[in-house]
């Protein structure tokens, strides 16, 4: 059973090839991170999956519903938190949510009970009657998450959910995402923050210039390199060397005397190794 299925997805803008044949299968209940540098094609993928952009070719389905042939059913399956804040700033928190409920054909009684529960969930209950423009950036993000969950979707799309947020608020959003996963919701998130993918994701796809260059669990992606890394200064910049064990790494380093740091291998190493460039 696949919750999100993407087959050979291609998107060409006039001059740019944004997606060059992407295949994704996301399983029910997993957090799937779509990791790549700016311009890799992450937003384009989410926009196609959520009906905002027309694909050049390829097929996509969500919970078994084809996004082009069964538009309405497919759209009921997911909630979207886009990259840019798209709330009605002049309206109140509650009004924003009610309108969303109507857009998704919810019954009035369900709308009020869900609003109550979700505002509690994202810790915005006191702000119910406040105009959105009076909320902080982190609150707006949480409100967007609550809105996307209002109609009880099976899948939640999050496009760069923590971009531009303070580290503390970022962790709060991470905790929220993990909490949502425990309710059985499948989560597809894009990010260019390595540590976000590493912390949250069950599986990660590395996207580079419209192509998936690797797709696996974070552990397996890193495993190929080894467990430990040494970053050291060399004549033409930085060099990273990988080792199976800490012991090996330490022994390697006694032979050299330059400046170095010893650390665990992370996803960034895996990405660098595959693409030859930094994510950011």
């Amino acid at each position: 059973m696949t919750m999100i299925q993407v087959n050979n997805l291609i998107k060409n803008y006039k001059k740019v090839e944004a997606l060059a044949g992407v295949d994704i299968h996301v399983k029910p209940g997993e957090i799937f991170a779509y990791l790549g540098p700016n311009g890799a094609g992450k937003t384009t993928t989410i926009r196609i999956l959520t009906g905002l952009t027309q694909a050049t070719s390829g097929t996509c389905s969500i919970n078994g519903f084809n996004i082009e042939k069964q538009v309405c059913q497919a759209k009921q399956q997911y909630g979207l938190v886009p990259q840019a804040i798209n709330l009605d700033q002049e309206l109140t928190v509650q009004e924003n949510l009610i309108i969303h409920g109507w857009l998704y054909r919810m019954k009035s009684a369900d709308i009020s009970s869900r609003i109550h529960a979700l505002l509690d969930y994202v810790e915005l209950s006191e702000k119910k009657k406040s105009q959105v423009k009076t909320l902080s950036g982190g609150m707006k993000r949480r409100l967007m998450v609550a809105r996307a969950l209002l109609h009880g979707p099976k899948v939640l799309f999050l496009d760069e959910p923590t971009v531009g947020l303070d580290p503390g608020i970022r962790r709060k959003i991470w905790a929220l995402i993990k909490k949502i996963q425990t309710t059985g919701t499948t989560i597809f998130l894009t990010t260019h923050y390595i540590e976000e993918a590493e912390f949250l994701a069950d599986r990660v796809a590395f996207l580079d210039q419209g192509r998936i260059v690797a797709l696996d669990t974070p552990d397996r992606l890193m495993e190929n390199l080894g467990a430990w890394a040494i970053d050291r200064l060399v004549e033409d910049g930085m060099e990273t060397v990988y080792f199976k064990t800490r012991h090996e790494a330490e022994r390697f380093n006694t032979l050299k005397s330059e400046q170095f740091t010893l650390r665990r291998v992370n996803l960034e190493d895996a990405f660098l190794d595959l693409t030859g460039k930094k994510v950011k």
Binding site: T50, L52, K75, L87, Q89, L91, I99, H100, L103, R105
Partner: protein, 245 residues
């Protein structure tokens, strides 16, 4: 389908309600200036087909305002689309394109109607008594339907807010002046009259004025506006479908 229309319409109305204290003065200012300037400075002693200039002018202002205010939703849609990105929320939601256009068009029509109430009140204060009957309201609804539908269609086609103001300057403002609002077009040379007769606003002014002044109505103009309105509505639906990038 009704759900979607209501969602879109109520959203616009909630926003309008918040702005109403600013909107009402803005709806009154230009009619007030026109009424003062044209009636006292220009209109004294001018008579058009047995009516004072004031009686001629107010229906023209009503036709004009119902057009500009219905069309003004184009700017709202644009701001919602390019600045607030709220259009994405509608695009991602399972409502039909017809619902979206229907909700926005109704919002534009409501806005037009409210702005007309302001002019009717002003006319009353200026001591002008006109006949605001059923024929009058139907004509108004049709006129605002035409321009609200046009507004939605154009709002989907433009690429930025700057393009939108171009449309206002090149289409709406000239039409507002030439569409039989301030002067009777039958006083123009025949060719000019023929050209202006192609504008929907000319027909709207004609029937709105005739209804206000208890004169014979041109049924043809009613049906013409209805037909143009339906045409624009479906063009708008097509444009919403094409608005994916």
């Amino acid at each position: 389908m009704i759900h979607g229309i209501i969602a879109i319409y109520v959203r616009e109305m909630l926003i309008l309600r918040r702005r109403l204290t600013r909107q009402i003065p803005s709806w009154s200012i230009s009619p007030f200036l026109y009424l003062t300037a044209f009636s006292y400075a220009v209109g004294q002693g001018v008579e058009i087909a047995g009516h004072t200039y004031m009686e001629f002018l107010i229906p023209g202002l009503i036709a004009m305002s119902s057009m500009t205010q219905a069309f003004a939703i184009a700017s709202e849609i644009n701001i919602a689309r390019f600045y607030w990105h709220i259009f994405e929320e509608f695009q991602a939601s399972p409502i039909s394109k017809v619902s979206y256009v229907g909700g926005e068009v109704l919002a534009g029509m409501t806005r037009a109607m409210l702005s007309i109430l302001v002019i009717m009140a002003l006319g009353f204060l200026f001591g002008v008594r006109l006949n605001y009957g059923l024929a009058f309201f139907i004509a108004l609804l049709l006129n605002s339907f035409v321009f609200a539908s046009l507004a939605v269609a154009l709002a989907m086609v433009v690429k930025s807010h700057a393009d939108q103001s171009m449309l206002n300057s090149f289409i709406i403002t000239p039409m507002a002046f030439l569409g039989g609002t301030f002067f009777p077009i039958d006083r123009l040379p025949a060719w000019a009259g023929a050209v202006l007769n192609l504008l929907p606003l000319t027909h709207a002014s004609k029937i709105i004025r005739a209804a206000c002044l208890n004169e014979p109505l041109s049924i043809f103009s009613y049906f013409l506006l209805l037909a143009i309105g339906i045409l624009f509505f479906f063009i708008a639906v097509r444009c919403v479908e094409k608005a994916k990038d």
